[in-house]
Structure formats: C-alpha cells, structure tokens
Symmetry: C2
Subunit: 549 residues, 2 copies
Amino acid sequence: MNKKQRTIRLNLALILFSMGMALYAQDFYTAGERRHWLEKAHEYTPKLVETDMKPMNIVDIVKDQQAFQGWKAVRGSSMELFYKSPIKEQSGVVVDFGEHMTGYFTFSVAPLQTTPDAPARFKFTFGEVPAELATPFDPYPGGLSRAWLQDEIVTVMTVPDTITIPRRLAFRYVKIELIAAPNYEFTISDMKCKAVTSVSTIPESLPATVSPIIQKIDKTGLNTLKECMQTVYEDGPKRDQRLWIGDLYLESMANNYSYKQYNLTQRCLYLLAGLADENGYLNATVFERPQPHPQAKQFLFEYALLYNVTLKDYLVATGDQETVLDLWPVAKRQLDIVRQYLQKDGMMDFERVCKEWWVFFDWKSDLYKEVALQGVSIYAFAESYELAKMIGKEKEVADLPVSVKRMKQAAHKNFYDKKRGLFVGTKNKQISYASQIWMILSGVASKAEGRQALSALTSTADVCRPGTPYLYHYYIQSMVDCGMDKEAKEALVNFWGGMIEKGADTFWEAYDPDNDIISPYNFYPMNSYCHAWSCTPVYFIRKHPSIFQ
Amino acid sequence: MNKKQRTIRLNLALILFSMGMALYAQDFYTAGERRHWLEKAHEYTPKLVETDMKPMNIVDIVKDQQAFQGWKAVRGSSMELFYKSPIKEQSGVVVDFGEHMTGYFTFSVAPLQTTPDAPARFKFTFGEVPAELATPFDPYPGGLSRAWLQDEIVTVMTVPDTITIPRRLAFRYVKIELIAAPNYEFTISDMKCKAVTSVSTIPESLPATVSPIIQKIDKTGLNTLKECMQTVYEDGPKRDQRLWIGDLYLESMANNYSYKQYNLTQRCLYLLAGLADENGYLNATVFERPQPHPQAKQFLFEYALLYNVTLKDYLVATGDQETVLDLWPVAKRQLDIVRQYLQKDGMMDFERVCKEWWVFFDWKSDLYKEVALQGVSIYAFAESYELAKMIGKEKEVADLPVSVKRMKQAAHKNFYDKKRGLFVGTKNKQISYASQIWMILSGVASKAEGRQALSALTSTADVCRPGTPYLYHYYIQSMVDCGMDKEAKEALVNFWGGMIEKGADTFWEAYDPDNDIISPYNFYPMNSYCHAWSCTPVYFIRKHPSIFQ
C-alpha cells in the first residue's frame, strides 16, 4: 500500500468511524469534531528516523549473585571472529548491541565451503536485560500473553540470504540458537538493527558542572523517552507498544523540557479525543493499527483526568491556543467524571467509582486508593480551571473553584490524622505513599503538613510503598511541592541512580531496590525494561536545575 | 527488486560467473557458450500460475492400524463453524484443503468482542499425509536438516491482521495450534493457499472406456507432475525443491505426453549446461536462488548420462534442432565420463567409478551396482548415438557403435548366469532388480532372456528389490521392452494403485507396499510425498495406450 492509498484508506476509515459513532450511538461529540480530531492526529504523525545499528561484541551471560536479577553480561570475543566462524560451533552465543534499541533485526547467512542444500532454523531471543537471555520462558508462568516475549523462530530456506524478522523488537542483547542444522557449514553475519524513533532533535547538554550521577540519570531518561517516542508516545517499546494517557502525561512533560517535539503530543491528544467513548469520556489507551481505534470501554479514572493536565502543560510549553481550544470540549467533558461521583459533603464516592472505573495509581495490589482518588480529583479540577483561564473559558467551568475548596476541606477533615501527621482513609487505615503524595499534589496538605507526612512515612511501620517509577514520579513532585529540595534530589538519585547502578540502559517499568524480580505480571522477563513512565528525571533535572543539578 | 533490476542483476551474475569460470579455471566450455546457455535458461523461465485455494473442512486425525502409516483423516466440522468460533477452543485442529498444493499460506485473525491488546503466537504444521500431523517431530531422529519439516511459528503482533507465511509450503493438511494465547477471544479465518505451478495447459482426457484405476493413477501422476513443475522441474515441492537431472529425465518424459510445456524442459537443459563443472561434466543438481548455481562437485554418474537421453526425448517430442545443436557440446562431453572408465575388454571399471562418482540407481543401501552401471553406460552410448544421428553429428561420436557392441558382449559374457537365467555381478553374487532391468534397457539381454530374468526374480530368494518408484519406473520400462505387456500393466496397477489405495493424492518418493514408514532419511515425515520421479505412469499410460489403457 503506498502513501496515497494509505491516506485514502485512512480517510475512509475516519468517515466510517464518525458516521458509525453518530448513527448507532448518541454521541457526545459531533461527527465533525471527531473527524477533525482524527484528521489532525493523522496530520501530526511524525516521520520515524531510521538508524542502522551494529552489534559491538559477543557477551557471556554469567551467573552472579551480585548482579541485577542474578545475571551479568561479560564482554567476550569480537564480532569479526563470530562472523567468520561456523555458526554450528557458536549456537547459543549472545550478541551485545551496546545500548537499548527499538527496531527491525536483520542478519545474513552465507556458506563456508560446500554448496548449501537444505534449510536451517534459528531461534533468536531478544532481551533488554541480561537475565532475559538466561531465564527459560517455558513453561510460562506469567499473566500477560506469552507472545510478548521476544523469542522468534526463523526458518532460512536458502543460504546465502539476508533476512529481516518482521516483528519490531526492543532489545540490547540477542541470543542466537541454531535449532535445526543442515549438514554444511555456514556463517551468520552482518547483523544489524534498523532502529526507529520519532526523535530528531538533540536536547541541550547539562552544564559540565553537573555531577556524573545526575548526568547519567538524565542521559538514561532521555534514552528511555527517545525509545518510547515512536508514532505515538508508547508506554514501552517492548510492551505494550501503545499510547496510554498516564504515560503520555509523563512523557510529554519530559519532552517539554528536552526534545520539544510538540507535534507528537498534539497527535496523541487529538488521537485520544477522536477515539473517546460515545459518552465523551476518554479511553485510557488506544491503538494505531490496523487503523486508529480505542481499547473500548477501557476507563481508567485518573488517566482521563490527567489528559486535562497534559493539555495545560502543552499550552504552557507552546502557547498553542488553537489546539487547546480545539480540544477544550474533551477536557471539559472529563470533568463530569469527577462531578458525577462528587457528594454534597465534598467527598468523592470512592466505592461507586471503584465499581465503575479502573482506579490505578500504581501496580500495587494492596494499595487502598480512597485518599489518592480524592486527591487526584481535586488536582484535576484545579489544573483544569487554570487551563480554562488560560484560554478564556473559565466561565464554562465556574463551579470548579467552589468545588475544589469544598473537596479540600472535606479531605482534610476526613483523612488527616493530626496526631500522626499522616493522611489516612476513612474505611481502611493503611498508611501509603500514594495517599500522602496526592494530598500534597492536590494542595489539601499545607507545605508543613506535607513535609511532616512525607518524613513520617520513613519512620512508620507497614507503609504501602510505591511499586513503580510511575508513583515514584509523583513522590518526587510532592517533595518539590513541599520545598523538600534536598530530599527530592536524594530520592531521585537513590531511586533512578539505583537502576543505573544495577546496569540500566533505560529505566524500567517496575523497580524495587530490594526485589530484582518484582513483576506486575508474575514473570519478570515480561516486564518492560524501557518504560515511558520512568523517564521523568529528565523533567525534574531540567525544569528545576537549582534543585536537581 | 523489480523485473528490470532482477534482469540487470541476473545479467551481471551471468557475466561474472562466465568470467570467473574462464579466468580461474581451465574451462571446458567457452565463456560465450556458458553465457548463452544461462541467458537461454533465463529466457525460458515460465510464469507461475497462481490459484487461490480454500480449505474444505476440518478433519480429525485418527489412529487406525489399517490406515497408511497408522493415521487417517476423518471428515469433521465445517470451515464456517471453525471460522466463527474462538480459536482458543479449537487449538490443535487440522484443516483439510482437499488436495495437495504447493504455495503460500495466508490467514486472517479478527477479534470477537473485546479489543485485542496483546500479541498471539501460533504453530502451523503443514502435512502432505495425515501422519505428518500426528507424529512428533522432536526429538528429531532424521538424517536431513530438521528445517525441511513444515512447522512454522508465527507471532501475530496485532489483531486484526492478515498474515502470509513467507516460506513456500507443500501440503494438503494444516494443523493450527495457538501456543501463546492472549486474554481476549479471537477467531482465525479466511485461510487460503496461493497455489503455484508453471503448468498452464490441460492434457487430453483419457478415453472414458479406460478403467477407473488407470484413470486414477493417471490423474494422480498428473497432479504429482503439476506440483513439481515450478520454475524448474523440482524433485519434490516439499523437499528438495530443486532440479535434479534424474527427476528432470522422468518429468520431461511425462510432460512430453501430457502438458507438453517444452519451455520448462528447455530451461532446465540450458540451466544444467550453463552450470556444468569446469571439466564440462554436469552437476547432478542445481539451485535457482539467490542466483542460479550448481551443487558444486555433485557428480552423479548415471544422471550426467541421462541428460543426453532427456535431450534426445526432447528432440523427438519437439523437433527443435536449434536447442539440441546448442547443447550438443554438453551431451558430447558427458560421453567422456563413460570413455574414461571403459576398459579394453568392454567392461566398465566399476571400482574406480565408485571411488570417483556417486552411483545411485535407487535408495537401497545394500544394492550392488556393477551390472546396472555397465547397463546404463551402454544405454547412454546407444541413445547418444541416436541423438547424434538425428542432428547429423554421428561422425563426431563414431566410436560409439563399436563400443556399444563390445560393452554388450562383455556384459553378457561376464554377467549372464545362463543356468539361472539371471544377470549377476562379477564380485558380488547379489540378485537384484536393478541388474536385470539395466541389462534389458541396454539391450544386453535379448527379449527372451529379459522375460526369463524378470520372471525369475519373482521366484528367487534374497532378491534386492526396488526401494523407490524411481527404479520402479525402469522396471516397468524393462517389461515393456521385453514385450511383457500384461505384467507391465499389472505391476503398474499394483505399485502406483497401491499408493492410491493407501490414500495418495500425489505419488511418493519412497514406497514399499509392506513398509509404510520406509524412509531414506531415517524419519518418514521427512519423505517427500509428492515426488517427481513417481509421476511416470502418466508417460506409460499415454505413450502405450494399447498396453496400459
């Protein structure tokens, strides 16, 4: 399909989608609005930058109790030697491309002496971290589709040949196993990866005076972000390879202070708008292929609200009123999500929300989310009102300031345990990071209360700690908001620097300093080791140089 | 690569190949000859006819001691039901396309209710016969590359999608296993095979009076031949997928009396000539991809000689003197193979030939080949002399009639056991079909002696019987030559009809009525169940209607 055919096909899809929404459902938006948003999303599709990457050398994946997940990659022989030796003698070898990349893997096979007369079969295993090359995938114990794991069986029917694996891969290491050997000797060579990203700009360097660890954290964050910036802000290039609002929020934030490729943010904002549910609420995640479509009825409470904050941040970064005015109806509609659960006493009806929405905040199965839910609702109202003011639409949401005030007061009254200096839920007395964080971000806690609460966390037993860098981002932000500059920097260096110490080339989806094999999916090779929501040190370091540099 | 680029690339390859042969070796042929032959081979490349084939229904592969190889395919439910039911509940199902086909397999996947959010992985196993779908391939006990077996692992990254497996396949049955299931329900549908063959003509029907079994044998032979007729005469579309002179000989013979697509014969004759060894001898097998090249130094004694017989048959069928004159230098040169081992007493130096050549005749490890070697040498001389006469070149090979006479006399003297009425080797007293057959085809045996020898075989103990339909072809021919019309038809019906009784859609590479799992490669799923050299009933039935119809 050529470009013109693609465009025709897309336009047809857009028309049908719009007509379908209008005909078969009482759509909250007009067909014209949807069509416009989807056309804009298409218009802002970035061109991918392709770079041919070559492997550096062979590595031995060696058991080491001290290494991350028990395995380390030790530099072995040269690619030159590997390329000229018979592959039969080298089956099982692991090749190191030297850095994390996202793209298409190509290799060549060539005979050594006699004429090849039979096919061969390879198993290639692609890994972001060394343990993925050493951990058997089967029998598969995980909770998501086994097919996410990047092992591919390739039959090579003729030798010589050059073959590209059709699947896009995210990896640094490749294990090569010859699982069906013909009788002749042959080599494998010219391995390369056509790496893709939509990043085409180079962000400013940090001053040379910045400490090495901050330099490293910044660089690793930039790499993480770059790998996730494809034709949308993906959550992870290995998995799930798609746009989630929560990741978009953090990625666009980091992008605003680094690559400044605002078109990608525009594309994602428009795409989510165009693919919103018929009731006007945003689906938390959408897909680009085979044509843009949402994960239908995938409602994630706080993600829908963070769309508005993303829009506001975008406006601050770009001053682009046109786009924001275009999308204002969507942002305005998301506020109804909060309104319908807001009770007269200023408290959110937590139980009803939980019945009707996915409430996330973190991958932490035991997290009690009542307090955080109240917090994020207040935060969304407050930020959305700021947004409205910036585009002269505050009259359309005139209820917000009053609601925010009432919600804050109710939260403080119902959640604040003055004696302990901590915020606690009404029906579950769990002390969690998430609760303190969202009481601070929402402004329920005063700066002093916030500082006290965050400090108390470290000396309290049975605290529900963050499970992912996603919540950790908000933790750092809450410290910044409370003026805990030193602690914020310390926490950032300890947390993200901890991943670097463990060998991270890009930041991970899940990280617990004390548990290398933590996984939200019951199998750590299923984790994404290059995950968008971990890239935000870039934002902190560059937005607040006085704190983090 | 478009057609023009392919042509440029081919021409470049031809020039380089010719120059290489001329520069680095004392080439028997001129660079101009080679180039001309390879250009002609390219010019006669047939266009493949593509046909979209759809599966018929589901089958159950059921254990049955009476069935061929212990498994039979029993008709199950409809494709319609299969296509609309979740694939998860149907993993392991076998689909029947109703007939043998060679081509490219395509399928579609589509979601049932919820939005797909993860990849899936399938294992497809393609089989020519039912047992291939029921026999585990691993641990692999066979003697050729495991990669010939047609099981392919396919990762489907997005649903919906339509996917084509890159490898060309030869099959009737497909087993579909979902080996990595995502959490959503989806279907597999629109399975099809873009079947390819270079056959574009329809051969004459046999008279309606011809018996059903002969009709069936003829039809199955035609199918076998059609499947093997690709851009060369392949030996088998599953394995080895390439041109061997022995198969070419039998296929072109059957083609002369059925499809009459002589360009394919021309292409193969020219290709083999252009890719002959620097000493002028033909390599027994050549490859088309990535560019035409021989299996270097793959010298098979009688195959080189049968090239001349193929050329003669081609001339008889077409009257095309130009092509034959073009290739006469090659045919002439092959005679030197015999000459260099021919001793003064008219006997071939069997031991020296065996040291320097692969002598085949049949897949039968215990076959003693001395007698057959003498026979095929005489036969090649005699047929080549006939060829020479037809193009007015007999003076160039004036030695042949004398040699033939001397070789025949020597053979009769040394091999004929008058008492037993059988031909036996000088150093090994094995009684074999191959020996009798080649003494008849070469004219060493009189018709009466031939009849006696063939009859004696059936009543002699410890006879080395044919292992493949390849030798069986010559067996039928030897009966025809001796005037054993009734026996020839009986043998043809019993042997090829036996395969049909066992369910053959196409004729097999190896067939022993008493051993279903016979295999030259130590693993019967590795056998080719659509094999060129088994197609010759087409030739017998159509060339000799008075005998076989």
